[in-house]
């Protein structure tokens, strides 16, 4: 528990407005990233993020400070995402949204010309889509470890604390997650090449 975390916790427990703003500013984007990568759906991720922060705000008084604030919030996010996925996979099939999918590529149109070429954007977009699709094929247990390590850049020790497992288990899950991702990507690339040559 760093001094910064302790100060933030005191502010949250005292109901100081700036503490709440600081917490959101620091953690709303990482929590959204993790839940989005674990669930693969934007609206589900939005629901889970709200649940996560509701729990954080209401449980902050009971937080016993045995771990850092960061790993505590990540742990809530990972647990909520898994609960959400388990619950809704039983009770809801994939729904088709009537809202138009936001075109993330559109943001590239607003950037300056000094950046990469349109070819680079297309290549980057294709790569991103391939990896995102391959990630969804990885088992949630291993996907969580890969997301926390490679996307959130958390240390092995932090991941062990978040997932409540040993360091050896974290290493094993990262190894198996990356291996599963590599296999899924290889299969997708091979099938794509076959389709291109047919």
């Amino acid at each position: 528990m760093t001094d910064e975390d302790a100060r933030l916790l005191r502010g949250l427990r005292a109901g100081i407005e700036s503490a709440y703003e600081e917490l959101l500013a620091r953690y709303q984007q990482p929590v959204y990233n993790v839940t989005y990568r674990l669930l693969g759906d934007e609206s589900d991720a939005c629901d889970v993020v709200q649940e996560v922060f509701l729990k954080v705000f209401r449980s902050v008084g009971a937080f016993r400070e045995r771990s850092s604030l960061k790993t505590w919030i990540y742990r809530i996010a990972v647990n909520e995402a898994h609960n959400h996925r388990r619950w809704f996979s039983r009770h809801r099939k994939r729904e088709v949204s009537i809202e138009q999918e936001p075109d993330r590529q559109h943001t590239y149109d607003l950037t300056a010309d000094s950046g990469p070429s349109p070819f680079d954007y297309a290549l980057d977009r294709e790569t991103r889509l391939l990896i995102e699709q391959a990630l969804t094929e990885v088992s949630p247990v291993f996907r969580t470890a890969v997301v926390l390590r490679d996307l959130e850049d958390l240390s092995y020790e932090e991941i062990a604390e978040i997932l409540q497992v040993s360091l050896g288990t974290v290493k094993s899950r990262i190894l198996r997650g990356r291996e599963a991702l590599r296999r899924a990507l290889s299969q997708r690339l091979e099938s794509g090449l076959e389709a291109a040559f047919i």
Binding site: L12, R13, A14, G15, I16, E17, Y20, E21, L23, L24, Q28, Q29, Y32, N33, Y36, E42, C46, V49, Q50, F53, L54, K55, F57, R58, S59, G61, A62, W87, R104, T127, R128, I131, E132, V146, R149, D150, L151, D153, Y156, K171, I174, L175, R178, E179, L181, R182, L185
Partner: protein, 224 residues
């Protein structure tokens, strides 16, 4: 000491993430310099890790940010309201836990309650009617020993008994058609002339309806 290809792969996460001790790092590197297959594998994993790390973070939607700010404001207000009151804080904590516990059960419980209301609403009329019928009074004088029972002589002709019942199961009237006009009566004149069977079991489960019942008595001839 040297590593097999299988063992080397087990060290790949730490090698790629730069977490190996110098001694292990040296052993892995020396294996990789001699093994093309492992080198190719490590290059693939390393390249994959680099590509995943470069994945652009999805920007958090604007409306979600607004919702989070509103939520933070509400929660802060509740903290201010309960500040200094330990009991309020404990009550809030348990209420929150109970709410989180009950939330998954809310939908099935509501469905069950509505189904029960619908079911009881459907059968409540039947239950009320049955109760009323059970308390139906069978005329006691119909079974009295001193009842003035008049036997009907069939002779060689047919006698038809017609009984009329109202909606509550009471016999409102009866008539006996006798071709020889030997006997005719109505219920009001001679209420004890008809013997009513007692059927409490039937009345408890059956729904009475109004209508007529006609019983035909046929004479039987025996050859001697």
């Amino acid at each position: 000491m040297s590593f097999s290809c299988h063992n080397v792969k087990l060290y790949s996460p730490e090698y790629v993430d730069g977490r190996l001790l110098p001694g292990d790092q040296y052993l892995i590197s020396s294996h990789l310099s001699d093994c093309e297959a492992c080198t190719a594998y490590f290059e693939q994993v390393s390249a994959l890790r680099g590509t995943v790390r470069r994945l652009a973070a999805s920007p958090i939607p604007q409306d979600l940010q607004t919702k989070l700010r509103v939520m933070a404001s509400r929660e802060r207000a509740s903290v201010e309201a309960t500040r200094g009151s330990r009991w309020c804080a404990v009550w809030d904590k348990w209420r929150f836990r109970l709410n989180a516990l009950m939330r998954p059960l809310a939908l099935p419980a509501t469905g069950g309650l509505l189904s029960s209301i619908l079911l009881f609403g459907t059968f409540i009329l039947t239950i009320g009617t049955t109760t009323r019928i059970v308390s139906y009074e069978v005329p006691l004088n119909a079974y009295k020993a001193e009842a003035n029972l008049v036997p009907v002589e069939l002779g060689s002709h047919t006698v038809i008994l017609t009984m009329s019942f109202d909606g509550t199961g009471r016999m409102a009237d009866y008539a006996m058609a006798d071709p020889t006009c030997k006997y005719s009566a109505d219920l009001k004149a001679q209420p004890s002339s008809i013997s009513m069977p007692s059927m409490p079991t039937v009345f408890a489960v059956a729904q009475p309806i109004s209508g007529d019942i006609q019983i035909k008595f046929l004479p039987l001839a025996f050859r001697q």
